[in-house]
Symmetry: C2
């Protein structure tokens, strides 16, 4: 079997489940780094008390929570109290959207939200819920390269716009959106319309779902957002662990009600192992980010070139330049993508068509690819996403496997 050679190299993240396999779906989940697991175990053993109680054990747990919050705040360049721990990216996105909608609606005021057609389902389905609750949502199109137009964002903002939510990078096609530029537009709009707003509220707020942006800069000062979603499972961190950065002063309501943990924005006993694991994973990711980005970009470009050379009819989905270092999404005209994923699996390759969340829906077509104006490709595209264990050899093996299944088609 052609991928046998892989056994010999020492993986960056050692996972026996990868032995002899080519894993190319790192955007769907990343393995947990052993160091993160160890930190979580330590917390489970030593610091299992409820951080909100009053005795010594609880205070130690609370201190550890503060420490995790601070170390994440240091990475993002924000105040530690701006970090809200959640159960993951989906909950963070729900909190950002529903939280702003509910906090800012009144009997006489119908909030409006601006987003894009290619957001993750946790944004799009939450927007549908907001419409059901009487809110207004504008879904912006993207270019055939998969990028939202700054001009479109500008003209979509209305007097009742409370929130603009644009993803940092797309989970299917890896295109990077112009977050800084959108941030600037929103800032200008606020300044022009300041007189109409209460002194302490600056509408619209700007949120970015940065679950796929972990390989890019996460410096909040540079990005200019008011809220940002991150998820542990996309950063070699724990499952069930996410954050929502919420700039202090933001007028936002909770979506889960109870004991009032996390500044009242996220009730429920704090999940300390998850918080500590997430902080550790983010620290490790920051350290290797630059080097890893260069390494992956090289493999990505090697892959795109080699696949397009081997299959002349194939085309890249989404911009080649404004693209995550680890994303390869290719349309193979006529291919049944669902069948191809299963066939590649038999040949030792793990990859996906559209997103994992999308596979739960009855419709297997990709709305992201459709939004590029490539309707022919929305059931014929495959996503290969790279990670810390990926090598050029993986790509060679992928191309060999693709040749087998595409010949068979």
């Amino acid at each position: 079997m052609f991928w046998k050679k892989k056994d010999k190299r020492t993986p960056v993240v050692e996972h026996s489940s990868l032995r002899g396999r080519v894993f190319l779906d790192y955007v769907s989940t990343t393995p947990v780094v052993p160091e993160v697991v160890e930190k979580m175990r330590e917390v489970e053993r030593e610091l299992w008390a409820n951080p909100s109680a009053l005795y010594g054990e609880a205070i130690s747990a609370k201190e550890k929570l503060v420490e995790a919050r601070q170390s994440i705040a240091n990475i993002l360049g924000c105040q530690k109290n701006d970090i809200v721990f959640t159960s993951g990216g989906t909950e963070s996105n729900n909190l950002a959207l529903l939280g702003i909608f509910e906090a800012n609606r009144t009997k006489d005021f119908t909030p409006h939200i601006v987003t894009t057609k290619i957001e993750h389902s946790s944004i799009l389905e939450t927007c549908k819920e907001i419409e059901r609750r009487g809110g207004q949502v504008t879904y912006l199109p993207v270019s055939n390269e998969g990028i939202v137009s700054i001009k479109d964002v500008k003209s979509a903002i209305k007097e009742n716009t409370v929130l603009v939510s644009v993803m940092y990078a797309n989970n299917e096609i890896g295109t990077i959106q112009p977050i800084k530029e959108i941030g600037r537009i929103i800032k200008n709009w606020r300044q022009k319309n300041m007189s109409r707003m209460p002194l302490d509220i600056k509408l619209p707020y700007f949120h970015t779902d940065a679950c796929q942006g972990a390989s890019l800069t996460l410096d909040l000062q540079k990005l200019g957002v008011d809220m940002m979603t991150l998820d542990g499972i996309k950063m070699y961190g724990p499952r069930g662990a996410g954050i929502l950065y919420v700039k202090s002063g933001t007028n936002i309501s909770p979506v889960l009600f109870g004991g009032g943990q996390e500044r009242g924005l996220r009730s429920g006993t704090e999940n300390l192992p998850a918080a500590v694991g997430l902080a550790c994973a983010m620290e490790l990711a920051e350290k290797m980010k630059e080097r890893e980005s260069v390494r992956l970009t090289e493999i990505r470009d090697y892959a795109i070139l080699k696949i397009l050379e081997t299959f002349p009819e194939a085309s890249l989905n989404g911009s080649g330049k404004l693209r995550l270092p680890n994303n390869i999404n290719i349309c193979f005209p006529g291919l049944d993508a669902e069948f191809a994923v299963i066939s590649l699996d038999v040949l030792g390759i793990a990859c996906s068509y559209s997103s994992s969340c999308q596979t739960l829906k009855e419709d297997s077509s990709s709305y992201v690819i459709s939004a590029l104006g490539k309707a022919d490709c929305n059931k014929s595209s495959l996503r290969f996403t790279l990670g810390r264990e990926s090598t050029k050899e993986d790509i060679d093996n992928l191309v060999l496997a693709l040749q087998k299944i595409i010949k068979q088609n």
Copy 2:
């Protein structure tokens, strides 16, 4: 120091953080059983793929998730698809209440919910949110023993009642509510009013927050509920892991929107380690439940007797009979409970006043104790809750410590 002897015995759950301490706040959190930790690690190492993807690794993860779901269903006596995994008890309670409210409201129909005054804050705060959204809530009183009256429940049910939510056992005073009897009343009400309802909907639904009921029977057939909340941190299981049992056919909406995982009721990538850990913790708890209940009841009664003998002015809060095996809640007239918890901590005893969630509120008084008609006690009561490591010796040490701080008062 009087609690030194404890070092010599072999704890049921070995946690170095307990060394030399008397931990009496097991209702706030339980340590994670080492076997549960080990199972979670195994999953993190071997089965880290996204259970919703289509390749081999993902399918193995999905199978493990089904297995965890099935083993929990076996314990509860329900169908595996009736188990919705959540991030914990608070989220489960939110899903139960907001989910039923949102699914059953219409323009012409204002849903009504019946609950009690002594529910956990994740129920009471969610009820407040439901009122904010235009719903009606009846908060039933309890007797001076801390038990809700079946008659009160019966007369509170109205034509627009969509849900009755009564906790299985109270987190502060440990009183056990008459769940089976309430279940029967609701069943009768439905039968009488069947003609008014659509064929496929049986209102009102019956939910119980069973987070504190893990030491009681969890057999759903016996309890007669439509929905039940459980939380890993109360069962020596993982943090950030809860379930909501939702009987099939229940008309319920999600509170978190996205990829449609968990039958569409709880979007977000499945937290497989948490699910597997929870199943393991519940299996272990079931095995030792009977024996442990007998053991703890004996220690509890020993404690109550000894404390009341030592402090003649003290009184037990809540029923002595309809009471969890591990709950001791005592009013010490005139005591500043918050100060006492801190003083006992210095003497090596970890305990609490009211609940940990409640300590986050500015008001340190206990609404549960107030509901008993013991307003004098609502800032003067201490809660001591037992767990797998607790012994009569702990109680002896507790009483010695209490004598020190109560003399000082």
